[in-house]
């Protein structure tokens, strides 16, 4: 398969191009190199931008479909940039039994996005994980790396409000 003939690549900034070229050169002959390179890209950007995938497809002479098969197979990879504030709902058995489902629906309702999505203003990213190992705190949320336990749907609005306020003072300063 011949790789992509242009459009987005031309518009791509030089750094992205350099990055990909360096990564490809570095991992060229290694086994499982595609995954390694995608790791590098994600480490650098926090997600794997589409433009990087397109360029990578061309550099490695593989179809874009292949790259997306890998990207979507491993939950580790992200296809969109995360929000500034990350909210994770634990969906482990304990949390599930204690009502994590209701937490998730409340968050989805309040933020107007679904599990795995980011709000349009990029302020919030919402996701679920299997189990964060804090079953004693069920149902648990992780908000910007901080674990908050024993939540009910009623706790959600104040949590979001607090973050919004912070952002606002930030802006005002």
């Amino acid at each position: 398969m011949e790789a992509a003939t242009l459009p987005p690549l031309e518009e791509m900034d030089e750094t992205t191009r350099d990055e990909i070229e360096t990564s490809v050169a570095k991992w060229k002959d290694a086994e499982g190199n595609l995954i390694m390179i995608l790791h590098e890209i994600q480490n650098r950007h926090g997600y794997v931008p589409r433009a990087s995938s397109l360029l990578l497809a061309r550099e490695m002479n593989i179809p874009l479909a292949r790259i997306y098969e890998v990207l979507t197979f491993y939950h580790y990879f992200r296809l969109v940039p995360q929000g500034d504030h990350n909210i994770t709902v634990c969906n482990g058995t304990a949390c599930y039994l204690k009502g994590s489902g209701r937490l998730l629906s409340e968050l989805e309702k309040q933020l107007g996005i679904k599990d795995g999505e980011t709000t349009e203003d990029r302020m919030f990213h919402l996701e679920t994980v299997r189990c964060i190992g804090c079953c004693g705190m069920a149902p648990a949320l992780v908000v910007d790396k901080k674990t908050i336990g024993k939540n009910s749907p009623m706790d959600i609005p104040p949590i979001l409000e607090k973050i919004r306020q912070q952002e606002k003072t930030h802006e005002d300063q």
Binding site: M1, E2, A3, A4, T5, L6, P7, P8, R50, S53, L54, P63, L64, A65, R66, I67, Y68, E69, T72, F73, L79
Partner: protein
């Protein structure tokens, strides 16, 4: 090496490596399947084909398990039926209950299985994905909710066509078929060949049905509806009416078209002869007179054209500039035909019946597809849609009398007819090119150019023409073409003589007879029979050279002038452009 075993007590001997499923067929035992397709490797996705092997408690899948010496296979008993039924119910629980409004209603493998197993009620609550349909291409409609994840389309698109427009994303129960990189199909590298739709067992991928548009045109008093029908349609349409593949129904098709209300019946095969005149002239100009590059590459398959424009755009100068027969006929139907008949040109409406979903896209491929000043062809129906129209019309198709096409743009040669087969364009072109170079026709025993016939993926031959030798190559199924093109590119980049002088490519395996819009159930056996249907007719025809078709001579004489120049150039030729492979 061969192995001998028993299946339901019947002894069977097959070559080593034969699957239990294949072996069972040989003793007239039908094991139910859903995911396995004869063209493709087993994906073992559905689990319907389980059998007992006589040893152990396992139930291996017959499609993916080789028959072994001494096996004692049971294909049907109460327990197997029970397990299969449960499996089928699970599949149905993720499928919409939507047969009445589905493009596959009455011709669907999943519906068939549900019918055979006598499923009469939902035992499990249905949970169906609600992803929106993808109708971005105008040729195909993807309805993700009807996908049973058998993997046929992905395998066809990646392995047979080497296009990689479709893939499986995510995993586990979230696995879904999707255009490459989660974009729309039109933004993906898809070339609209429709092979995915021809192989899909359900209504998850179907052609964009435009029969309603045609009915409307037929009822519109302001339109003079004319129609053309492609060579390969006539030997496949019968399958939709229960006839064996390869049955040539030309006469009945003409008669049905008249009853549907078409005012003039043209035959694309006439235009195939015309394409040959233009293309053979082009070949002779390049080969003998050195005007233009070699190899000359055929361009009558729009899926193939799209593939080259997307993936090998540096080779565009090698393309024949001759339009496809569909577009040539459309151009004449809207210029020559009204001129000859005095009918108002702006009222002529042209419907084209094709084996192909990509032909729907070809209508708008470039501005030259409107060389008459309007769309040269207004709408394309695939063979499957045409069969549906006949069934809607109330015509008792199989008992119709045979009729003839209209005498303008309707006469054709056997050479034009075999255009529908892989190798057929090459054979037809060589018959005429030989005459152009030597001034004589091939001798009767040389008319059949057998090395370019058949289902081999790549066929090459050296054909003596006068005191030179013409090296030709033929490929079908696009996975076969990359290697040829790389060799051509290498020679070209190094200024070496080309490995071949003339290359024919058709995107679909078998050529147009195996097109993505043909009746369901294609496999090599069916392709072989459809091809034979065209070859047998060619063999019986008195007229076997495009350049001897009297209507062709007449149209040049009265209207077009000389090949490659003037009006012929204006109406019958086109251009190509590089296109991005991913639009997003």
């Amino acid at each position: 090496m061969s192995v001998t075993a028993t299946i339901n007590g019947l002894e069977v001997t097959v070559p080593e490596g034969t699957s239990i499923l294949e072996a069972a067929r040989q003793v007239q035992v039908r094991i139910p399947t859903l995911c396995k397709h004869q063209d493709l490797f087993p994906s073992s996705a559905c689990g319907l084909c389980i059998v007992k092997t006589g040893t152990g408690k396992k139930m291996p899948r017959a499609c993916a398990t080789a028959l072994e010496e001494g096996m004692d296979i049971t294909t049907h008993d109460a327990e197997l039926t029970e397990v299969r039924r449960a499996t089928l119910e699970l599949i149905l629980s993720n499928h919409p209950n939507a047969c009445q409004t589905c493009g596959r209603n009455g011709d669907c493998e999943l519906q068939d299985r549900a019918g055979e197993f006598g499923i009469r009620q939902d035992y499990l609550p249905r949970r169906v994905t609600d992803l929106p349909c993808d109708d971005s291409t105008g040729s195909l409609i993807l309805d993700f909710s009807k996908c049973i994840k058998c993997g046929r389309c992905v395998q066809v698109c990646q392995e047979v066509q080497n296009v990689w427009a479709l893939s499986f994303l995510d995993r586990g129960i979230n696995t879904r078929m999707a255009p490459a990189g989660d974009i729309t199909l039109a933004e993906s590298p898809c070339i609209r060949c429709g092979q995915c739709s021809a192989h899909c067992p359900t209504g998850a991928i179907v052609e964009n049905d435009e029969t309603a548009t045609v009915w409307e045109a037929l009822r519109d008093p302001g339109k003079i509806c004319t129609v053309q029908i492609a060579p390969s349609v006539r030997v496949a349409l019968g399958e939709a009416f229960g006839l064996p593949p390869g049955t040539n129904l030309t006469g009945k098709i003409y008669s049905a078209l008249r009853r549907l209300g078409f005012k003039a019946i043209f035959d694309t095969t006439f235009a195939a002869d015309l394409t040959i005149i233009e293309e053979a002239s082009e070949f002779v100009a390049r080969f003998v007179e050195g005007k233009g590059e070699l190899p000359l590459i055929t361009s009558c398959c729009p899926a193939w054209v799209d593939y080259l424009e997307k993936n090998f755009s540096d080779l565009i100068p090698l393309f024949s500039t001759a339009k496809s027969p569909q577009q040539m006929l459309g151009a004449l139907a809207k210029t020559y035909y009204p001129e000859k008949t005095g009918l108002p040109a702006d009222q002529i409406y042209q419907v084209s019946i094709m084996p192909c979903t990509a032909k729907k896209y070809e209508l708008e491929r470039t501005e030259e597809m409107q060389s008459s000043g309007r769309p040269d062809v207004d709408v394309v129906l695939t063979t499957r849609e045409f069969a549906r129209m006949i069934k809607q019309s109330g015509v008792d198709f199989l008992n119709l009398p045979d009729e003839k096409a209209d005498s303008l743009l309707g006469e054709y040669s056997g050479a034009g007819l075999i255009f529908g087969n892989t190798g057929g364009v090459m054979e037809a072109a060589l018959r005429t090119a030989f005459n152009k170079v030597t001034g004589e026709n091939l001798p009767p025993e040389g008319i059949n150019i057998t090395p370019v016939r058949g289902l081999e993926g790549i066929k090459t031959a050296t054909i003596p023409v006068a005191d030179t030798k013409v090296r030709v190559a033929v490929a079908h199924g696009l996975a076969n073409v990359e290697n040829l093109l790389l060799q051509v590119r290498e020679a070209r980049d190094q200024n070496k003589p080309p490995p071949w002088h003339f290359i024919e490519v058709m995107a679909c395996p078998g050529g147009c007879i195996g097109g993505g819009g043909q009746p369901y159930g294609v496999c090599n056996e069916v392709r072989q029979k459809r091809m034979q249907g065209l070859l047998d007719t060619d063999e019986k025809m008195a007229l076997r050279f495009s350049h001897e078709n009297p209507e062709i001579l007449q149209v040049y004489d009265e209207f077009l002038g000389e090949p490659l120049t003037g009006k012929a150039h204006e109406l019958l030729h086109t251009s190509y452009q590089p296109r991005p492979i991913y639009q997003k």
